[in-house]
């Protein structure tokens, strides 16, 4: 069977592009916890091996807490935008498992290059969520120190950071922190991007560079099905993870709403990179439950049925069911996490509103590491101009 009269049937070659869409455990989708909260096995990836029941319970409770707090960050930020406190917000609702699984698989010496939606990963890296809001409020362009947490600044130009990640990973190779066998030394990089970014030249160039130099980088694509209003079908005719084969490194599709699976898969991919075995492409198959950003209206381009269907795959609910059904957490635990989320929400609301606008003169700061005379003259000229007003700010 051929399509449009030439070439092989893509579905025959690669399998249906969306076979994982419906199935809980399609063969090419790594899943360890079903939407119903049932643990399942996978031949290649596992979670909790070697852990006692208490240790395992503690780790899963940790994931639950992480995802709950991450969702609260997102919900509060969305509300703050609606109240006019943020200019815009890029929502992650529904992608908590993909981000917490990936974020918790990191070691301190690993480095993350995010796009602009990695609020959960930022949280895992210890970046104060309040700092994330500064960018969207317009008081800065990323208020955190990228070196302090090995978490880069958000990148707005789609996919540009995948090249930075690859170059950084090449630097790690030259620093001798890859493949030494020392778990405290060996390091890797994660480049985050979305399904829309997979169409960008830079992402494809990053794949080529990473493959060519065997760079220790994990390309972590959150396929949330939508690039603003454009569906995944507008980006690719084959499942994204299968593209990796064409670049010469492994690609894995993981249930992005399953935090155990994303953790297991990312950890394996990171370890592979740290061991000097090169890049891996991880496609976290998930769904953007909210809008692309708060300026977007998804009701114009997608069916509410789809959204309802994905609600049944909620990443947090399935962990809650699993914990409860197996007696791994009591009500006091859930109450404490809820209280912690409320506290966080309160802190974000108050902290956001208290964020002062930067001083106008600060726009001249840090254009260069070594300021030019031209800029110094402009700075002084503008300062004099401001001071010429009665009651001028210092």
């Amino acid at each position: 069977m051929t399509q449009a009269g030439f070439g092989p049937d893509l579905a025959e070659v690669f399998g249906p592009a969306h076979q994982a869409h419906e199935a809980g455990g399609a063969p090419d989708l790594v899943q360890l916890l079903t939407p119903e909260g049932e643990r399942v096995e996978h031949p290649d990836f596992s979670f909790g091996d070697g852990l006692s029941r208490d240790e395992l319970a503690e780790q899963v409770r940790g994931f639950f807490r992480d995802m709950t707090l991450t969702r609260r960050i997102d919900v509060e930020a969305t509300a703050l935008q609606r109240h006019g406190e943020l200019g815009i917000w890029a929502q992650l609702l529904g992608q908590e498992a993909a981000q917490i699984g990936a974020g918790r698989a990191l070691r301190p010496q690993d480095y993350v290059f995010p796009t602009y939606r990695e609020h959960g990963v930022a949280y895992c890296r210890g970046v104060d969520p309040l700092l994330l809001l500064g960018l969207f409020r317009g008081v800065d362009q990323g208020g955190w120190d990228p070196r302090a947490n090995n978490f880069g600044l958000y990148t707005i130009v789609i996919g540009a950071q995948t090249l930075h990640a690859t170059g950084y990973a090449m630097g790690m190779q030259r620093d001798g922190v890859v493949g030494t066998g020392d778990p405290d030394r060996d390091a890797a990089v994660v480049a985050h991007f979305g399904d829309g970014a997979s169409s960008q030249g830079d992402v494809n160039e990053a794949f080529i560079f990473a493959a060519s130099y065997n760079a220790p980088v994990v390309f972590f694509c959150q396929n949330n099905q939508w690039a603003i209003s454009e569906p995944i079908e507008r980006q690719t005719r084959i499942p994204l993870y299968q593209r990796a084969l064409g670049f010469g490194f492994p690609g894995i599709r993981v249930d992005g709403n399953d935090v155990l699976a994303t953790y297991a898969v990312t950890q394996a991919a990171l370890q592979r990179a740290r061991d000097g075995q090169g890049p891996t492409f991880v496609e976290a198959y998930t769904y953007r439950m909210g809008a692309h950003t708060t300026t977007d209206d998804p009701t114009r381009y997608r069916l509410s049925d789809d959204v309802e269907r994905w609600k049944l795959k909620d990443p947090i609910a399935r962990v809650e069911v699993y914990l409860k059904r197996n007696g791994l957490a009591d009500q006091a635990f859930f109450d404490s996490v809820a209280a912690e989320a409320d506290d966080l929400g309160h802190r974000l609301r108050e902290g956001c509103k208290a964020m002062a606008d930067p001083q106008p003169m600060s726009m001249f700061d840090h254009v260069f590491a070594e300021e030019t005379e031209e800029l110094r003259v402009q700075r002084e000229g503008f300062a004099s101009y401001l001071e010429s007003f009665e009651g001028a700010r210092a």
């Binding site: 362009q141 090249l163 080529i208 560079f209 260069f368």
Partner: protein, 330 residues
Amino acid sequence: MSENTKQKVTLAKALNMGLRRAMEDDPKVLLMGEDVGKLGGVFRITDGLQKDFGEDRVIDSPLAESGIVGTAIGMALRGYKPVVEIQFDGFVYPAYDQIVCQVAKMCYRSQGKTPLPMVIRIPFGGGIGAVEHHSESPEAQFAHTPGLKVVACSNPIDGYWMIQQAIAAPDPVIFLEPKRQYHADKAELDDSATPDPLFTSRVVRRGADCTVLAYGPTVKTALKAAEAAAGEGKSLEVIDLRTLSPLDMTPVLESVRRTGRAVVTHEAHVNLGLGAELSARITEECFYSLEAPVLRVGGFDTPYPASRIEEDYLPDLDRVLDAVDRSLDF
């Protein structure tokens, strides 16, 4: 170049020696680009460096300009000092986003926490009889971008020192090399000399009647024009700008106040080129000293033409002299 303290070298050789010395001085310096390794670059600027410094420091890249610049950014973020070679000026555009949106803004975006000391070398300008995309002058595109510093060398001595200074600079530098000068003239290089600071212009010929401003390949043109003018009793002062962003206006303004006249010449299109900026600044600062409007001699506002007629497109000695005459006739 410890084996030799003085020798006559071409610009290509001087750049090669400068890169070598920078790599010897700082193990974090590495070279990236298409064909920079075994081949030594299409212009042989990196000749022999991979053999001596290894494939980890002289990195032959896939043929992807955005990838070359983008990965260099990552290297710089990791603490390396990458020196990227763009093979030809017209090939820099695929990397344009990485340069103007990422390289230029990393220091600002991170509030100074992750500055990017890196160098992007671009062989620029025409006059080598190449096919299209191989003879362009994109300097204004980068000089217009805050966060980038742009310099152009014009001779072997500057080539040797300026490349080392650009690599040592704490900010990203677009380093323009006049490709038709690579193998043209030799100059005696003394590696124990003290060079001028990187971001400074220099008076390269003294004169009293008119100031001619030039950079990169047009410095030689301007000097030839000054020589010819001298035969007609006209005394031209020639300034090699060397730094295009930031501009070093001090010697320019001092000169124009003395001569009362200025002609700017560059190969790039005149419209919105460096000449427009220089004209505006001279007018702002030297209005009462000027005897004539600042005139510009540059490439026309056409795409770079076929090589058989490029000599008509490029500013030459006669067009510079014609502008000088128009200035003197005011």
